[in-house]
Assembly symmetry: D2
Homo-oligomer: 452 residues x 4
């Protein structure tokens, strides 16, 4: 018997591999499915079932890919949606995996027809429940995906699902959700990597409300909805293109790369210090840790993407883009930025300033203009000393920024500020400086008092 959680960092996505006596099921597989195939081979199991808790919107499901590679059956929740492949679960559906039984539990709220899956041995008490985006460690699923207009309705459904279908399973049942901390599918997900119905019942803030109304008041929240969600939703419905039919990403010479520039977007994933010194004009900078989500935010789904990398292999970068449905990579700069420079090609740069030097500016006065790109949840600086535009809104709201005075961009550590600078530069702004080390650095040298 094996139950294993597969973590996809960057997306903070959890899928699960369940095996017993020669058979296996996978819950909510990711698009690159080698990890499940390898587990099946290592444990000598045949994957029979692919079970989805809901359609998902923040990543491309690997259901079609895995079914194509194994012959397994795909079972969808959200049965009201027009799926183009696979079967639809019912409230009475169940699947055998050796001596284990998996039973469907319809738990709508995050989506109209989402499901959870209860795992137990034949003739025993409930053991584990795979809750998808209905219940997380310390959080519950967002209810705003159909629009805020329907959020109350969905929150009501979710309340029902939690109270009637999940909490009633018993305190001792282990809870296995689809996401961990930092996921775009939650706001307060905890980093406790194991939890139970009982623990959540006592400690999850969303389960402490006495009334349905109080729960709904807390659960109705508007969270980010990055543009790539649209494609994920469509592809998870139709089945995405198969990765097994893709060719490896092409290395491009400087000249070939330059030839593509007119109708492509350059994604640069080197360190922000290297990017600051020299990058191909018009490039978008995204740091490695934010690669998947920010690519989904800031790159156009249909535009060709060219990669500039150094230590992270281009194939790995491409894989992360594929996980969020950015399939349109056109190649990578084979000899890297050194090759580009040694060919005498044009580059651009972004001025930077260390936190220590910025503090001297603050001390000397007059106050420099700060653009804080952190999220509201990060307590950005007060409006009186600067402008606050979260990174996710920067492409819409850049018109609020002056173009005739230096704008010092601030985020937590410097990464997102550089992304913001690269995006703003594309709008024609040249009065940008990135504060290296970000708020964390200013805090370390007690320069933040002035910003609040």
């Amino acid at each position: 018997m094996i139950v294993e959680r597969i973590v996809t960092t960057g997306l903070s996505h959890f899928s699960y591999f369940i095996g017993d006596a020669g058979m296996a099921a996978v819950i909510d597989p990711r698009r690159d499915v080698e990890v499940y195939l390898n587990l099946a081979e290592r444990e000598d199991l045949c994957i029979k079932w692919i079970l989805e808790t809901h359609r998902h919107e923040d990543f491309i499901l690997g259901s079609r890919e895995l079914a194509d590679r194994t012959g397994a059956e795909v079972w969808h929740a959200d049965g009201q949606l027009p799926y183009k492949f696979g079967k639809i679960i019912k409230a009475t559906s169940q699947w055998m995996v050796g001596d284990l039984i998996i039973k469907a539990l319809i738990t709508p709220g995050h989506t109209p027809g989402g499901a959870s899956y209860l795992l137990l041995e034949r003739d025993t008490t409930p053991w584990m429940v795979f809750t998808g985006d209905a219940l997380f460690a310390g959080d519950v699923g967002r209810v705003d995906l159909l629009g805020m207009g329907r959020a109350e309705e969905m929150a009501g459904l979710l309340y029902q699902s939690l109270q009637k279908n999940l909490l009633t399973l018993g305190d001792g049942v282990i809870v296995c959700p689809a996401h961990g901390p930092e996921s775009v599918c939650g706001a307060t997900i905890s980093d406790r990597n194991q939890t139970t119905i009982g623990f959540e019942r006592k400690a999850n803030p969303f389960l402490q409300h006495d009334t349905r109304e109080a729960f709904m008041a807390a659960a109705v929240r508007r969270l980010h909805r990055p543009p790539y969600f649209i494609r994920s939703e469509r592809w998870n419905l139709e089945g995405p293109p198969l990765l097994s039919e893709r060719s490896p990403i092409s290395p491009l010479t400087c000249d070939a790369f330059a030839g593509f520039l007119d109708n492509s977007r350059v994604l640069d994933v080197r360190s922000e210090l290297s990017f600051a010194s020299a990058h191909i004009p018009g490039s978008v900078y995204i740091s490695e840790e934010n690669l998947q989500v920010h690519s989904g935010w800031f790159l156009d789904l249909d535009e060709q993407i060219l990669l500039v990398t150094d230590h992270l292999p281009a194939a790995e970068v491409e894989l992360r883009l594929l996980r969020v449905g950015l399939d349109n990579t056109g190649g990578f700069l084979k000899d890297g930025m050194n090759g580009w420079l040694q060919n005498g090609k044009e580059t651009d740069s972004i001025p930077v300033i260390s936190a220590a030097a910025f503090r001297r500016l603050l001390d000397k006065g007059p106050d420099p203009l700060i653009l804080d790109v952190r999220e509201p949840s990060e307590s950005p600086i007060a409006a009186k000393v600067g402008i606050h535009i979260p990174l996710s809104e920067i492409l819409i709201r850049h018109g609020e920024l002056p173009r005739d005075t230096d704008v010092f961009i601030l985020c937590g550590s410097g990464h997102r500020a550089m992304t913001a600078a690269s995006l703003l530069k594309r709008t024609g702004m040249h009065n940008l400086k990135v504060i290296l080390g970000g708020y964390r650095a200013l805090d370390a040298i007690n320069a933040t008092a002035k910003l609040s």
Copy 2:
């Protein structure tokens, strides 16, 4: 925050690494501690606490080793014992690991002063409990270690510990025991790799009894007590020799190896088929999967051990011996059995018979004499068609066997039968044949009907 289980296969031992905010604790570390040091380095944590649930008897604890390498404090349970290092916990002891708190729970029964450790975040409800050998998935700790004379008393203590200290924690608390299935410290431990108080309360057979008496009747069992327990108990009290001060195991030429034979025992861990064809006379055969426990059973703690290996590296074999306190390895045969043979050295062999051929013997009659070395729990064959001596008793009871007729040795798959043959051969028996494939093979060809 990180809570990670470290599995030592072979011993089916679980230790736990708990880290938060730069600090870490390890519960019941094994003797080779690199795994904890690596985790600490990867997560950038400093190991501060080493917590033992009890003295342990089935493996050598790494508390002293890990303390020596990190400066961490060692905390022992079983405080009535005369420990030669470390500190003794109290019922009120607790330790901080970043924002996490670990609290001692005194849970005697398996040992007179054993403890569990409760883990929770500051100001929250109980999250996980590390139960040592008090409570397993599907089993409870054995109570026969002080002798059957005190088993009732210990079972009473254990009942108390379970009912008062553990079950009262709440169903939602995750249970993290010190052992998994196949451990010599349990008899019915399940292979469910995650469990909770609630699940065990409902499903653990030892927790289904209505009365204290009924529990005790079930819990008082006599289990194996391999001879190496004595050393483990002593070294876990005094602190074992440090592995960091050992030299690597020496490769020995054929002549050097031969020179040591008189005052050494040869341990041969090649495949049983290779062993059957040719081995150094007097060698003990132990299969890789049983290496740790059977070495502790059948090798003398004080005799020098010489190794004959093929694909499993000698250093790995030595490591597994060290885990059970067999520190006295004198070297390994550098050029393997091929080298030994090409030097013209003496070898011995053990006749084998396939299950298919054995079935023909059965069919033809008269009935061959079978020695079944499986455990009572494996439903060995009826006495009327053969002799049943569990492998663990073979060295004591070999006098029961005839020496003038062929004895066909049977186990589940063939491995233990070969170990038995190698041990019996040392007593002067030559009338031995091993049934390849064991009971499993006989069953596959429907030859077992005759054996019941």
Copy 3:
């Protein structure tokens, strides 16, 4: 600039990768061409030329495969043969690789139209010469491939090629042949891994003869001609099937494997000790070190081959078979011999005797019957104490052996004796015993005096 030798052990085959300034050539590639593709990628070179010194007979050339993967041009020597792909070199052919020039030198003798390739930088003196099978370290090419009837003629051609085309290049030219020691294409090839025209001129025994006649007398030798040469010759002419279009070898359950037995040959590559104890009836045993050549000798090119392996992965065994044109593998026993035995399937065994025990037989008398399967060049035992049939002739001459008395099979170390036993067993012989450790073991214990 890079010149790298790629060694294929087992075949003792040398191919060469030559690169400069973005371009590369490969001389005599083997069939699995990843090694060349990886070098090209590592050095950022584009493979443009594939140059063959001759058709080759002892392995499948990778020319077609490599051309298919890279677009490189294939150039054949032996232009009188009806090649189905590629171009034919002329005496004036030359190729540029960056600043390097490669010039054809027609050097027939081993084959009617074989060539060597001279490498030099533009406008400099000759640097290296790739001599194929014309000139080796310490040996020259065999001249018996067209039959002994034409061996004199070929030896004459070879003399001419050596004297006129190779020795005249100058002593300082580095010699890069197609084979090293133990190759079936030579008899006395040295293990000096670097040599020169000058060194060979002074030290190569075949170049010490004063006259053409003396050379020819030495060069006309009959060497082994394993049956697989026929396929290699044909496929090297027509182009072999592409490996890039093969599927991975299939794992087979015991039942599926058993189902194929009737029309397949089992190749068992486990240790000879394991094979002796238990193998699938009718299996051919070949040791890992002799895998490529002996498979070519003893397996039928058109019969389906099933593999039994343990530590050497089946895919690796298959690869070595593919190198000699044995493409017809049908799968491997997924759970190994342990699985086979635990399914209760039939097995066979081969009795073995250690050299030490055999010596006791010798001492006691009467003399046991020995079958020595070593080659004539290994000084097999005298006819008066036994029978000498080289392993390569065993399938033809097995009728010379008695079937009513024990035959003790002897080789150098025991491997080939077990191969002989497995082959003889298929002819119905059951009176076979393998002497473990072989002649080397008997020699080590001074038991060989009696055998001479």
Copy 4:
């Protein structure tokens, strides 16, 4: 028999491992000797002899370290020097390695008592010669190490050694020198990785002179003599500290690192683009490819060195420093430059300009001031358009540079220009800009015409 060349890139140093029949010799080992120990283990050989061709000056010999780890005997050439360990060779010295013989050949010229070693099989013609720094592929040893005053004398000795002792060995002898291209011990060493006496006789420019005088005129050259040569010479005489007794390099927190800054030098080996954006004030930048030699040039032997790295592990950087005798590393910045910045620590930066932008400056005029730091052999730009100070002289000649106008630093590709900038900045210059992509980039966009 095995003869293997071990290449130490960065130093372009070749050592050799010679083994036969259980024994081995190493010629000119480097300081980190695991590579020889691993070869010995892989081939099952015992290292008996360590033979030095001369004292060496450009790296720390591993003779003492290897002797300490193996018990091998060390044999020095240059016997007039006061060696503190090992034995001194004579003209008649020879050593057996299995069936191989190694004979000393006294070949002074590069050093007063340097030697070569001739390798041959017993009773055969000469096979290979290990020439140390006497004869390279395409070059001969430098003769200026005792000062230019004695260069003529040494060149005379070298002429004698080459003509009498080496060229007379015969054209067919393979030449194995101690260095390859880019070594500081030669100026024109070719990248042909295999050569012979015959090839060098015909193609080596230093062996084409008709007379002793002509040879000497060419051979008397003044080459670089980096400051670290002094330590290498001393330690190679006395035996350097043993690496086996060193502790691993320490990770340092930002505060610990900052605390050491006053009496340490920071060596930064990140990419030059990252360095340009932000580095610890006062750091010396050295690119990975120049790490060993430039560290020996620009770091003080006795000053403590602190490392800032990113993708190259600190332990690997330290190893390269140890190879040139820079043993005094005090630790590395554990959390890298990101950690430093997020702590709000001070940083400095160096302005850069792309070649494309620099070309626009050139086109627009007036001419910017260029500092060309390439070597004379690289045809630096004419004095009329700029200043030429080779990097190796930058610390002595920085006074020649203006401090009141922008100085654009140019090298081949940008790496050395950044090193020059980091060194000049330490002299108080702030008017520095590095041309990214260097001369290669300017050439690619046809901007070099203006510079000649």
